[in-house]
Every structure is written in structure tokens, then in C-alpha cells.
């Protein structure tokens, strides 16, 4: 990712160019110009740190039932209040956030891998293979996604639960289903990139030097096609988090003992008149995560997708 390369270019553009900045350094320079994206990166990093290390510091069990403290508003003992069984919402939010983020990242990886694979195969092979793969892509694009997501999850939840245990089974299912419905834009992007890149002089040169087709693809074409894919992947994380929350919110996602943010909202919506905080905190958490990821995606687009840059 762009953030992994520290900026060597602190001075002016021309000075930086003269010293020979790597493409990643150049991307990071452009990314930093997007102030909101930079701020979002900081906020998201802080949130991720809190989710990672929070449970080590806040040692309240997520299923610690306490009927004397039902539906309490935020207080010192319970920073985010309690739910209808007196369970501490802060601990549950920390736990659920880990799962929401993990689902988002895993589903994104799945979508990217499938999308790049199909897009690359379609882009490098012409004719009937390309046509068949694109027909498949269009078919998937015109499937009604949410109804199918609901359907597949409802139908196969129990058998996977039996096979892998409730937590891992549902996790695998949700990641596969969300990832399996989000690869199409990536495949189209990669295919379009391949179409223009494979005719470029440097690929022709590689071909003339006797590079095999896999080598051309892996060493020469793919690295140059990655920019838009990274941008799409970032947006996909946000979309997957929303998809997971939607499923849980409809009661078809994770079971009640695994409190993802969407599941917390689903449980909270019947108690809104007396315990509004219960719904507000997880909702706000989803919103801020998705918002920051979207802003980072926008910044990455400025940084990595040269076609989109209006004035640099």
C-alpha cells in the first residue's frame, strides 16, 4: 500500500524528481495532498489499534450478564452503556469490530483474487474464452445480490455451522458469499487494463526477448495494472463491511452470541425508545469506519490512478 513507503520527497516536486523518487514515493506524495484521506488514515489506524489492543485493556467479558444493570446509559463502569441483559456494550463493540474489520478485509481479498484471476485470463486470451468469461461477469452483475446473499446464507448456514463450529462456519460463509459477489468490477477493470497494456512497447519488448506468457503477465502487465485494483479493493472493504452489517441487521448474519456491529443494531432496534445509545454507538462505528475507508479510497485514487488526476 502507499502508506508503507515513507516519503522521501519532503521538498518541492522538481527537487524530488531530480533525486529520483520511486513510484510509491510519488504516490504517497500525491496521497498526502488529500487532507481528508490523510486524516481518515490516522483515524482508521487509531480505531484498528483500539480494536486490536482494546480487549487486552478492557477485560470485561462480552457475555457477562448482569440483570441489575439492564439498559443503562453510558457511565464510568460501562463507557458505552449496557444492553437488555446488562452486558457491557464497550466490550461487545470491541469484539464485534474485530470481526467486522476481519470480514471486510477477507472478503476484499477474496474479491480481488477472483477478480484479478478472471480479468487477467480474459484479458490475455482473446476470442471465445474472453467472451465466455465476460458473459459470466455480466451474468453475476445482473444477479440481484442482496436477495441471493440472504438466500445462500440462510440455506447453508446450518450445514457450515455443523462442519466448522458456529463462529468459523458463519465467518467462512459470509466472506465467501460477499467476496463471491464483488469480484466483477475488479475483473472488468483488470481486463480493460490488460487490453491496453499488452499492446504497449515494453510488453512487446519482453515478448520479443522470448518471455513466456505467464512471465509477461506476472512481471510486466500485472504490476502496471495494480493501481486501480488497489483503489477498487479499498472501496470493497467498505462495501463488505456494510454488506456484513446489513446481513446481521436483517438477522441473517452472525448468531446473537457473536456481537458484530450489525448484530448489535439488530438487537437494539426494538429498545430504541428507552435505550437509544445501544443503537447509536454501533451505527456510528459502522459509519465512521466506512467513511474513513471511502475517503482513503478517494485519496488512493488521486495517488494511484493517473487517469483520474485533474490537475497535479
Amino acid at each position: 500500500m502507499a502508506g508503507s513507503t515513507p516519503a522521501s520527497a519532503t521538498g518541492e516536486t522538481s527537487a524530488a524528481r531530480a533525486r529520483g523518487v520511486s513510484p510509491w514515493g510519488e504516490a504517497w506524495r500525491r496521497f498526502r495532498r488529500h487532507k481528508l484521506a490523510l486524516a481518515s488514515l490516522v483515524v482508521l489506524a487509531l480505531m484498528a489499534l483500539l480494536l486490536l489492543f482494546g480487549p487486552m485493556l478492557w477485560k470485561v467479558a462480552i457475555n457477562d450478564i448482569d440483570f441489575s444493570a439492564r439498559l443503562q446509559s453510558p457511565s464510568l463502569a460501562h463507557p458505552l452503556g449496557t444492553d437488555d441483559l446488562g452486558q457491557d456494550l464497550f466490550a461487545r463493540m470491541l469484539y464485534g469490530g474485530r470481526i467486522s474489520l476481519a470480514v471486510g478485509l477477507a472478503a476484499m481479498l477474496m474479491a480481488i483474487v477472483v477478480g484479478v484471476l478472471i480479468g487477467a485470463i480474459a484479458g490475455i486470451s482473446r476470442g471465445s474464452v474472453d467472451a465466455a468469461l465476460m458473459w459470466l461477469t455480466d451474468l453475476f452483475l445482473s444477479l440481484p445480490q442482496l436477495p441471493l446473499l440472504l438466500l445462500v446464507i440462510y440455506l447453508f448456514r446450518d450445514s457450515l455451522k455443523a462442519a466448522f463450529g458456529p463462529e468459523v462456519g458463519v465467518f467462512i460463509l459470509i466472506v465467501f458469499v460477499i467476496g463471491g459477489f464483488r469480484w466483477m468490477p475488479v475483473a472488468r477493470l483488470v481486463r480493460a487494463q490488460f487490453f491496453s497494456l499488452r499492446e504497449k512497447e515494453f510488453v512487446e519488448a519482453a515478448r520479443a526477448l522470448g518471455a513466456s506468457v505467464p512471465r509477461q503477465v506476472v512481471r510486466h502487465i500485472l504490476p502496471n495494472a495494480l493501481g486501480p485494483v488497489i483503489v477498487a479493493g479499498t472501496i470493497d472493504v467498505a462495501a463488505a463491511i456494510i454488506a456484513e452489517s446489513t446481513l446481521s441487521f436483517l438477522g441473517l448474519g452472525f448468531p446473537p452470541d457473536i456481537p458484530t456491529w450489525g448484530r448489535l443494531l439488530f438487537d437494539a432496534k426494538d429498545h430504541m425508545d428507552i435505550a437509544a445509545h445501544w443503537a447509536l454507538f454501533p451505527g456510528a462505528a459502522i459509519f465512521f469506519t466506512v467513511l474513513t475507508i471511502n475517503f482513503i479510497g478517494d485519496g488512493l485514487r488521486d495517488a494511484l490512478d493517473p487517469r483520474r488526476v485533474l490537475s497535479s
Binding site: L139, P144, L146, L150, L151, L155, S159, L250, A276, I286
Partner: protein, 319 residues
């Protein structure tokens, strides 16, 4: 033109068939059993259950059941709901108008927001208006519909008590009171869906107008001495809308997805909540029919977009 429509329909048909095969296989492979309820009911002997299974053809091989279903579907027989004990097509016919009304109104709202805001943003890029509008657009499509719905209910139904939060299809009043009640109960769902869509469309409109506004012919129009609003409305917007139409059509599956969530929050008796009910109660014929109707709607919208595209842009020839 006529032959083009015909050919597009012929391309759409295999897609529909493909979708129906996918749906049918998923449902057939699923471990659920619509007669589970009968199996646990001690008053129903096992032989009756087996007879029922045989009568509905649940023990045949999958491809045979698929062909059987397809033939029945083509003849207009959409099956029989196991749970409601009504024909599926009457059930769906009752629900579809509600969904289409809510979706249609919200799309109009979305356009009413996205077009002016997107155009003004693009005509003055990086101005204060553009910055605020872009940030708000980001906020708008990062807010999941289920959360906006809950927020609206919290503010307008629970705190202020202005709007009802349960949608009622059986309002007894007639005439003006009927309209008034319906408008009151539709405001929140339409706002939730419309603002979510409007936020993402604002960005499309803005970038499409930005692409066009720098072209030479726009400069020519200005140098002819045309008024600014004529240049923008007649020369820029007309051309900028072409890609927007495609994007809007491609968003249709997402719109219907959003409608499912909204219907669930506000308990609107539409096709989306019918689907969720059917899924939760394992009502296979209804699930199959509703998902299929969703697919048909999506394909119809894609087709409409293609036709609109040609109408908006005479340079595209139908071949």
C-alpha cells in the same frame, strides 16, 4: 431500432435462463425442507408427508424439477405458497406495486438532489460549494440505510412523534385523508433510500459534467456569446448525462437491495419483506419467484438504459 430491441431481448433471454438455473440449483441443493413443519407435527402421518412430497415432485432429479418449474412458469403458473396458502403470483402482484412506488419516489428524490448539486459542483470545481457538497456526498453514501432509517425513526417518530414508523397498507380513510396518511408514512422510507442514492449519483453527475465541461465545443458555444445557463443546460448537461444513465441502470440491483433493508426497517409490505419472510419460513416457491422477479426487474432496467442511451446520443447507431 426494432431489430436492435429484438436482438437485445434475445441476448437477455439466456441471461435470465442462466439466472433461473443458478437460483433453482441453489435452492434445490439447500438442506432446508419445506415440509419440515409437517415432519415435526405428530398429527400428520409419515405416509401423508411422503405422498405430499411426491405430489409436489420434491423427490425427482433436479433437472427434471427445473424443466417442470420452467414450463409451469412460462404457462403463468408460479406455484403455491406453502405458508400463506395462496397462489404465488397473487401474493407477488399484491406486493410489487408498493415496492415500485417507494423505489420510484425515492429515485425521483435522488435525481432531484443529484442533478442540480452535481452540475453546480462541476461548473465551479473546487469552490466552497463543491467541497461541502462532495464531503456531504461521501457522508451520504457511507451511512448505511439501516442506520439512517433507525436515526430517522429515533428523531421523528420517538422523540418528536411527528411520523408513524410502521407502514400500514390498510388505511381505512378515503380521499384526501388517505393520501395524507400515505404521504406521512412514506416520507421516511423515501428519504432514506433517496438520499443514499442521491449521494452516490451526485458524484457521478459531477465527474461526468467535469469530463464534458472542458471540451472544445463548450468553449465554442461560449465564444458564440450564448448565455451561461444555455451553455450549461443545452450543451454540457445533455452530453454529460449519457454515461450517468448507464451508471444509474447498473446501480439498480443495489437499489433493490437497499429497498429490502428499508422495507424491513419500516415494515413496508413490499416484495422485499415478502422475500425475507419467505426465507425465514422456508417457503421455497415464494423465494424462487421473488428472486426471479428481482432478476427480471434488473434486466429490464439494463435494457431500458441501453435504449435510453441511444436516444440521448444519436452518434450511437443500433447495429
Amino acid at each position: 431500432m426494432g431489430s436492435y430491441i429484438l436482438r437485445r431481448l434475445l441476448i437477455a433471454l439466456p441471461s435470465l435462463l442462466g439466472i433461473s438455473v443458478v437460483l433453482f440449483t441453489v435452492l434445490a441443493l439447500a438442506p432446508g425442507d419445506p415440509f419440515e413443519e409437517l415432519a415435526t407435527n405428530p398429527n400428520v402421518p409419515a405416509e401423508v408427508r411422503l405422498l405430499l412430497r411426491a405430489k409436489f415432485g420434491l423427490d425427482d432429479p433436479i433437472w427434471q424439477r427445473y424443466v417442470h418449474w420452467l414450463m409451469a412458469m412460462l404457462k403463468g403458473d408460479w406455484g403455491f405458497s406453502f405458508i400463506s396458502r395462496v397462489d404465488v403470483d397473487t401474493l407477488i402482484a399484491k406486493r410489487v406495486p408498493v415496492t415500485l412506488a417507494v423505489i420510484g419516489a425515492s429515485q425521483l428524490l435522488a435525481l432531484a438532489v443529484a442533478l442540480p448539486v452535481g452540475i453546480v459542483s462541476a461548473v465551479r470545481p473546487y469552490s466552497w460549494f463543491d467541497r461541502i457538497a462532495s464531503t456531504l456526498a461521501f457522508v451520504g453514501f457511507s451511512l448505511p440505510t439501516f442506520f439512517t432509517g433507525i436515526l430517522l425513526i429515533l428523531v421523528f417518530s420517538i422523540k418528536l412523534d411527528w411520523l408513524p414508523f410502521v407502514f400500514r397498507a390498510d388505511i381505512a380513510a378515503t380521499g384526501w385523508p388517505w393520501w395524507w396518511e400515505n404521504i406521512k408514512q412514506s416520507i421516511m422510507p423515501i428519504t432514506v433510500l433517496g438520499l443514499f442514492q442521491g449521494a452516490s449519483w451526485t458524484r457521478y453527475v459531477r465527474s461526468a459534467v467535469l469530463d464534458v465541461v472542458r471540451l472544445d465545443y463548450v468553449t465554442t458555444a461560449r465564444s458564440k456569446g450564448l448565455a451561461e445557463h444555455v451553455v450549461v443546460m443545452k450543451h454540457v448537461v445533455r452530453n454529460a448525462l449519457i454515461p450517468v444513465v448507464t451508471l444509474v441502470a447498473l446501480q439498480m440491483p443495489a437499489v433493490f437491495g437497499g429497498a429490502i433493508v428499508t422495507e424491513q426497517i419500516f415494515r413496508i409490505p413490499g416484495i422485499g419483506s415478502l422475500l425475507i419472510d419467505a426465507i425465514l419460513r422456508n417457503d421455497t416457491p415464494v423465494i424462487m419467484a421473488v428472486t426471479f422477479v428481482f432478476s427480471c426487474l434488473v434486466i429490464v432496467f439494463n435494457l431500458t438504459a441501453d435504449l435510453l442511451y441511444g436516444w440521448l446520443d444519436p452518434r450511437i447507431s443500433y447495429r
